[in-house]
Structure formats: C-alpha cells, structure tokens
Symmetry: C2
C-alpha cells in the first residue's frame, strides 16, 4: 500500500482489522538510539535481542550503526533472521543437543552462531554426536549472576572444568561467558536495579578473569536485560550487551522507571464491540489471546490490569484500563467508575498499551507501522512459533 | 509421514522438535462422545465451539453424528472452517459492524452464519451499512445469564425492543437468543456449578418465551460452556449447547471436577535443557509462550503453577509442576523438594498438562496426534490469529 499523501493516524487505524499491533516508528527509533548511545558510552558492543520483535525490519533499526550481531531465543528466529540476511547470532537459551541439526544446517550455509550451555552432560552429548558441520561450534558458558534460573556460579569449579573441556574439544570453540539478570524485572527502584546490574557485570567479569587465569581465551563477556543495561554503571570488562524489550518498552518497564509511558512503541489496536453499562465496562475485541495474560505491570501498582487504554492518536485516556480478559473479549473499566460510554461507541477504536511487550506481540504475524502523527502505511511481517 | 508399523509413543515424541502440542486421539474421541451423549440425552443439538481446537480434523470428530453446525470466536476461524467445508457457523462474539465485510463475503459464497449483538447502536449501524450480501443476516441476541460480561438482561425492555427491530429489518432475520455462563469456570464445586447451569438455562428460556409472547419467532435458544453443559440438569426449552474446551479438557476443568486428569487430551511436549540443582529445578524449553501465562487451575489448589508434568507416556509424574516460566524457559520443581535430577537428563522429554487448553494451544500451528499407547504419526494443522 502506497499513498501519495500520508493519511492521518486516526484514518489509518480505522481501516485495519482488529486486533492488530501498531508500531510507532519514531518511538522505536528513539528507543534504539537510546540503547545505542548507552552502548557507545559504556564502550561495549550492542547485540540486540530479537525475541521481543521477531522482525527483520526492527532488527535492521536496532543494529543500525552497530556491528550487526543479534540475539535470538528460538530456532525459528535463527532461521528467520538468517533468511533475512543476519549472519552473527547468539542463541541465548541453553542448548539441547537434539537441536544441533537445525543449527548446523545454518552454520554450513555460512551463519556464525554462538550456543549456550552450563552443564558437563550437555557438553558430553555435544562432543559425542555426529556433526554435519565441518568446523568448530562457538560455545558460551552461561553464568548465574543471581537470577538462579540457569548457569554456573562464577566462582565454581564447574566453570573452569567446562571451559577447559570446551577448549579441548576439536569440534567446539570457547567463545566466552554470558549471563542474563532476569530478576532485574522485579527490582522496585533504581537503587535495587543498579545493585543487580553491578552483580550481573561483576559475575561475568569475574568468570572471564578466572577462565583467562586458567590460560584459556575468553573473547566474549556478555550481559543482557533492558533494566540493567539502562543503568549508568561502568561496564569495564564487559564486551557486549543483549537487551531486547527496550526497542518497544511496555508498562512493566515504565512501572519500574526504565522508561516513560510515552516511550512505549507498541500498542494493540482494538474495536469496541459492546457496552455493559450495568457492569460498568466497555467490551473490546482484544482479549487474553490478543493481549496475553501477563499482568507483570501490576506488581508495583494495581489498576493496570491487562493494559492501559489510549485513543487512536496514542494518547493515554487517563483512568481507563483493561480490568479483565476472556479469550477474545477485553473488559475496559475506569478507575474512577466514571466511564463515559457515549465517547466510545460500538465500532470505535482504542489502543491498548501492553504489560509485557514480548508476550503480547508474540502471536501476531505483522506490525502496522505508523510515524507519530501520520501513518506510513507500512506492514512489517514477523516470525512466531518455534 | 506413514509408517507400516506404528512406533511406540516414546520413540515418536523423541523425534519431534519442541515445544509441540501432543493430542491424544483416544481421549479426544472419548471426550467428544461424552458431550454427544449429554446432548442426546438432554434432547438438544450440539454446536461445538472450535475456539479451543481451531482445527478442521478436531471439528470433524466433534461434529460426527451431529447436525454439523459449529461455533467460532474469530473471523480467521470463520474463514478457515468455511474453507474446510463447514457451512453453518455461529460467530459467538458481539459483532462490530466493521467486521461484516468479511462475513458477507462468506455468506455470498454459501455460508450460513449467525452473528451476535446486544445493543441498539450496533443494530442501527448494521441496518444502515451498505450490504454486499443479497439476503438476510441471521442475528442472535446475547443474554446476560449472570456472567455480566455482555448481553441484555432476560427481563429487560431492551430485549423485546431489539427482537422487534431485528424482525422488522429486511436485511436481518431474528434467529434467537444465546448466552455463555463463563462464570461457571469459577464455581468451586458441583452444587455451585449446577446453580449457574440452572440460571444459564432459565435466562435464555425466559428470554425466548418473552420474545415469542411478543409475537416473534425465536427458533434458537443457545447455551454454552463446558462446566454447565456437563451438569445433568434437564434442558427443556434449550435448543442447542456450544461447549468447546471439553474436547481437550485441562487442569482448570479437572480442578473443578468437570473431568479427571486422565481425560486431558492435550499436552505440551518439551525438552529438558538444564538442571539447576542449587535452585532445585529442571529447565525445560516450554516457557510462557509455549504454555501461556494462564494460572487458572491454581484458583482452588496451589502447586499447579503453569502445568503438571507427565512422562512421554502421558502418565503423571506425581509432585512435579512448572513452578515458573520465562519467555522460552520453564522451571520444573517437585512439591516435596525431592527432584531426582538423574531421572531427567538434558535432552530427555516431558509432557506438560495445561492450565487452560484454549490459551496454551492457541499459538501452535499443528497438533501431533497419537493414539494412546502407540503413535499414529498424524499431524493436524490448525489456524490461529485473527
């Protein structure tokens, strides 16, 4: 779709089938520039995590001016981004050796893929399996920097044992160490966030130092997570950051002070399908599948529910929130119980800001891209699934 | 894929990429037969809701021996099931008139589609819009039977006003009344569930009686919801039931006593990708996107988390549950803190029973179908999105 005159956003969004994800390109670019500036000042490479956006056009903006490497969370993303021309990818979920077939297929075609592990069992299996790829597979060792989801402790014997074994295996090569401070999402304030960021940095820098002291190479020292990346701590010893949700931001990040609500670049466009005046809610066609059941932004403030409500211009309608969701129904209420039903007739459109962008945008097949104020009428396809 | 000798399930599930949805055909058939028997005994038609399965092969089983009508929740489902040969469909979400274009396209091709509304505004807009379909569109009036999500009260003036207006409009035809007792999902026991089922039935039967007393026709009197459909109350005056999740069942239904855990026909196949012995959990590759963030089965019993864990044979591993999820990680713990890590090596497979099947299976593109005990190696595609 090309139009000689840009339509205004309101016309544009009234023509789309709903639910649909609207992506504000100006905000997306500003968010990408903010993270690029953070990486530049800290002297680290930016390897953006595309598990949120799952979209080549977004990846192009996030890697603009960077070295070009990206991070992914599924084999489907690896294959999609390879087809879109990306070559240097870190698959940042512990590898199951059974998944190596699909990875080696890409390596053989010229991809550079770093895989992740934290156990000798996995390493034994990797080393033992017949490989179709005629080269060494780059391996990162996952470090537990306090999130206690996965990874080995930076001061553990296990770390050095894994590093030695990887370095010795002819079909593996030791790329370095990686951590993800996912628990930073639960930090209540800047001070708590900074404390986690320091622990995240120190864990991998210490792990890398121990590996090097053991006489091994450790070129990559990688940290990730938007909340920790956007603190201002020095990152000496770190070589790269892998944040993802910063491109879009969401209510969860806004609640934690990582961004403002005006930075949020994605919203779910929805149509009003009913009024239930007695029950005090509007019905919209964005429900549990369209918004996800993630309620993470309610951790520190209630009455966010499944999302805050904006007009089609993207401006917040103060006090309106999605109080409940069913599979294909959302129930919009007003905090002050003063919902002006006549302002939102059946058929009118609203935009919902998501709690957690990664969860909300995942099932959609494309982004409808607008520039703030006017529509560019672009449709950017994305991948999904596994 | 066809195999002369059926593989056993364990071999079959070890070859699939994960996460993936496994569908147990024998359980699916038994669940379908149970609901068919309920409809037969109650003397009502069964119009199964396909918002859960979103799959033509499942729809074929659910409509076997029935009149052939189905229920859907999105335009994408309407189009998918039309292409699969289904002709009589109720789109059971309040219509937004802007969506009529896609519906009329199907009507023109020979579909019979019932739409739903509960407001005069919607009706005015429907009547006013230019129609491409050369016939009358069948309309159901939504009744609020106590769920207070949508619908008009059965004793309201509004009901008769809507019915009259629909009957008078040359491009609309009054098909009847419909309700969904979604609040039955929160009924704590059989008695509470039965009470809701009675209220659901009485609301539509009363609404239909009032419409007929006003001299209008009301051929369809439709109720829906698996928990209420599976009570044994008489359904005099009701013409059809529209349950959906009964085909698969899930932990939420099992918790409410609507089924047993052994009736659950869907599970998410996952691969163990790590051990975190210090933190006391296994890591699996089924996380928030693969399982959904629905935790509804925890309403009455804790320690279900994001799902209960089975072996590849589908038998429950007592005490194991998915305690937490991140985007592509699930954390499996043992209730008794006695996780036997050595029984679940990295690369081994598990099957997770979902809290809420509708949420969990939605993003997947297909079902991997097994017969209990042996694999049939079937892959049934499904639709998703809007």
């Amino acid at each position: 779709m090309q139009s000689p005159e840009p339509m205004n956003t309101a016309d544009f969004v009234n023509d789309l089938p709903t639910p649909a994800v609207i992506l504000d390109k100006r905000r997306l670019q500003a968010n990408c520039e903010r993270m690029a500036e953070r990486a530049r000042r800290a002297g680290v490479k930016l390897r953006p995590h595309l598990k949120t956006a799952k979209c080549a056009e977004v990846a192009a903006l996030a890697t603009a001016g960077q070295f070009g490497g990206i991070t992914v969370s599924t084999l489907a993303e690896l294959e999609y981004f390879f087809d879109a021309g990306f070559r240097d990818m870190t698959y940042a979920v512990s590898i199951a050796p059974v998944k190596m077939d699909r990875i080696e297929r890409l390596l053989t075609k010229g991809a550079r893929i770093q895989i992740l592990l934290d156990s000798m069992d996995t390493l034994n299996e990797l080393a033992a399996r017949p490989g179709q790829y005629d080269g060494a597979v780059s391996v990162l060792i996952e470090i537990d920097s306090g999130g206690h989801r996965a990874g080995v402790a930076p001061n553990s014997m296990q770390l050095i044992a894994l590093a030695r074994r990887i370095a010795e295996e002819p079909r593996l090569s030791l790329e370095g160490v990686l951590t993800h401070a996912g628990h930073s999402y639960h930090a209540a304030d800047d001070a708590a966030r900074k404390e986690i960021a320091i622990a995240e940095r120190d864990a991998v820098v210490y792990a890398a130092k121990r590996i090097r002291n053991a006489g091994l190479e450790c070129p990559t020292v990688s940290i990730g997570s938007t909340p920790t990346a956007l603190t201002d701590i020095p990152l000496d010893g770190v070589t790269e950051i892998r944040p993802g949700v910063y491109m879009f931001f969401d209510l969860s990040q806004a609640q934690r002070g990582v961004c403002t609500i005006d930075d949020i670049a994605v919203s779910v466009l929805t149509t009003v399908i009913g009024h239930h005046r007695e029950a005090g809610h509007l019905l919209v066609d964005a429900g549990a599948l369209a918004l996800s059941k993630d309620v993470s932004a309610n951790e520190f403030e209630k009455r966010i529910g499944y999302g805050l409500v904006c007009g089609t211009d993207g401006n917040l309608l103060r006090g309106l929130y999605v109080a409940d969701v069913h599979q294909e129904h959302g129930l919009v209420r007003s905090v002050a119980d003063d919902l002006m039903f006549e302002k939102f007739p059946v058929g009118s459109r609203l935009r919902i800001l998501p709690n957690h962008a990664c969860m909300t945008v995942a099932p959609y097949r494309e982004y409808h891209v607008i520039e703030s104020g006017s529509a560019s009428l672009l449709c950017w396809p994305k991948t999904s699934g596994w």
